[in-house]
């Protein structure tokens, strides 16, 4: 009984929807619907299919009545693409629909590349897809959804990003299963993130994506290496950073056969990308040598340019083997705290970035620390999908595909990174 009633009411709903669908073009002119700031339809075009065996003269008469012109067609379906003045679109639609020779008429929709993940808080990640909310500028982002749309090539390779930082919470729902190895280079203790920095950084780079939970990471397919090199107060001595970097590429052990040079690295390459969201004001030969070694092993490195708000050189970002990253706002402007200058290679979103926090939480943080993992994530994405796979090619692609936003050439050398352009190696994202 209940089933019958339910079926009956379902039938009623279907009927009602059918009636409404038929009525819509009659009662209201088709409107230009904006999808995330972009039109959903071509504003002055309709798609029309005539019934079979309709004489050409009748088709021409139908176009005339609709004040439309055939501009293209889909020959395989015998569908005509007709152009009408936008203000006459509703009239034309109605004219075709009421013509007995017409099989159907519909608006010419626009599909956009851009798989949108189902992570529950994806809407808060303006850095990946800026819709203009919260005072932001639409599209002042790295175009991540459009980048994720690019399929993997035959060169796709398993890729790990090393988070050289305060440790991170590998049990966080959005990082669980991502961790490949963890080691505390600071004092040999636990690798957990007490300060609450590395967890945020790791989430930006490679959080579990499209899992209906929390956030999306720039590189959905990347694994993560937890190289804890900082104290639980966020201070990171250079010798510990050097060890963490060397461990990431399997060069942490003293080579038994070393001669004038350091000899061959003894361990496996654990990570192909290294992120360092840390900055110090003094240079260090030890740190530079460690990074040179990592570069020789093929690692792409991204470093926070620092938050001094000046042009002061900061390390390790200043070393040429690392991509130095400044921070931008949701309006594509330099974040006021960000270090800048022509020594800084690229910019990436870094103000009010939503990501994973310790204790299974989520929240906003700001800093070039947040900008750098966007670049590391993009490096991982390029490699994991096999778009470009070598250190030099990855860096070159990231830099050449950056959007030349205001400040490019003075505040940073190459622009704000654009993952879509990087993946497609073409403009138009």
């Amino acid at each position: 009984m209940r089933q019958q009633a339910s079926r009956r009411s379902r039938r009623g709903v279907v009927l009602l929807i059918a009636v409404l669908v038929c009525l819509v073009p009659l009662v209201a002119p088709p409107r230009l619907v904006q999808a995330q700031g972009r039109p959903e339809f071509v504003e002055d075009e309709l798609l029309v299919q005539f019934k079979r065996h309709v004489p050409p003269a009748n088709e021409a008469a139908a176009h005339g009545q609709a004040t439309a012109q055939v501009v293209r067609e889909v020959p395989g379906l015998d569908v005509k693409v007709v152009k009408v003045p936008p203000q006459r679109l509703a009239h034309a639609f109605q004219s075709y629909q009421s013509n007995p020779n017409v099989a159907y008429v519909e608006r010419n929709g626009i599909a956009y590349a851009g798989w949108t993940p189902d992570d529950s808080s994806f809407g808060q990640q303006w850095s990946l897809n800026n819709t203009g909310l919260d005072g932001g500028t639409a599209d002042a982002d790295i175009d991540a959804p459009e980048a994720w749309d690019v399929a993997a090539t035959a060169n796709a390779a398993a890729t790990v990003i090393s988070i050289v930082d305060t440790g991170f919470d590998g049990q966080h729902a959005d990082l669980n299963g991502k961790i490949r190895e963890a080691r505390n280079w600071y004092d040999g203790g636990p690798t957990a993130d007490v300060y609450g920095h590395g967890t945020h950084v790791a989430g930006i780079a490679a959080a579990n994506t499209n899992d209906e939970t929390g956030i999306a990471g720039v590189c959905p397919d990347c694994g993560l290496l937890n190289a804890k090199v900082c104290s639980d107060a966020g201070s990171c001595p250079y010798d510990r950073i050097a060890n963490g970097v060397l461990w990431s590429v399997g060069c942490e052990l003293r080579a038994p056969d070393r001669g004038p040079n350091l000899g061959a690295c003894q361990g496996p390459i654990r990570a192909q990308v290294i992120n360092m969201s840390i900055a110090g004001s003094s240079p260090s030969t030890t740190l530079q040598k460690a990074m040179d070694r990592a570069a020789d092993r093929g690692a792409t490195m991204a470093c926070a340019a620092g938050n001094a708000g000046t042009t002061q050189a900061m390390y390790p970002a200043f070393y040429s083997n690392c991509i130095a990253v400044a921070a931008t706002t949701n309006q594509d402007q330099r974040a006021s705290f960000s270090t800048y200058g022509t020594w800084v290679d690229v910019a990436a979103p870094g103000a009010n970035i939503y990501s994973t926090l310790i204790g299974g939480q989520y929240g906003l943080m700001s800093g070039t620390s947040m900008a750098s993992p966007h670049v590391a994530g993009l490096a991982g994405l390029l490699r994991s999908r096999g778009i470009v796979t070598t250190r030099d090619a990855i860096r070159s692609r990231i830099e050449s595909a950056a959007d030349p936003i205001t400040g490019t050439g003075s505040l940073w050398a190459k622009g704000r990174i654009n993952a879509c352009r990087g993946m497609k190696n073409a403009p138009g994202c």
Partner: protein
């Protein structure tokens, strides 16, 4: 005609304090510095730091910087808010063995020590004079 801008009261500020455990040191004895901040108001003060670093300690010989406590360290580069209650809060202690940043021993003489709260822009505190006596 209205003024273009209304004068705002200056925000409450913290004062950084540095003290050494002795004014004069003999050969081989390291200096111990204590750094603290004083909140002179009756309410907590919230300060945003550009990174995990809260202070820096710099030693000068004349006008030349010879040692900096943060040399050899990087810091987590995310903005960090810290709350300082009314009164004095200990920031940290630093031990210095009379060597420059490169590790070279320094000659006997007078040195100046200045502590800095690493806000943006940085805020410097008092200067402490210390002396390394000759053998």
């Amino acid at each position: 005609m209205e003024p273009a801008a209304t004068a705002q009261p200056a925000p409450p500020t913290l004062t950084i304090l540095v003290a050494s455990d002795h004014p004069t040191y003999g050969p081989g004895s390291a200096a111990l510095f204590t750094l603290a901040v004083d909140n002179p108001t009756e309410a907590p003060i919230i300060i945003t730091f550009p990174s995990a670093q809260t202070y820096d300690l710099v030693v000068y010989s004349g006008e030349t910087e010879v040692w900096r406590s943060s040399a050899g360290s990087a810091f987590a580069a995310a903005l960090a808010e810290r709350i300082y209650p009314p009164g004095v809060t200990l920031l940290g202690r630093e031990r210095w063995g009379w060597r420059d940043t490169s590790g070279n021993p320094l000659p006997p003489g007078s040195y100046r020590v200045i502590g800095t709260l690493t806000t943006a822009p940085p805020q410097s505190g008092n200067t402490v004079e210390i002396t390394l006596a000759g053998p």
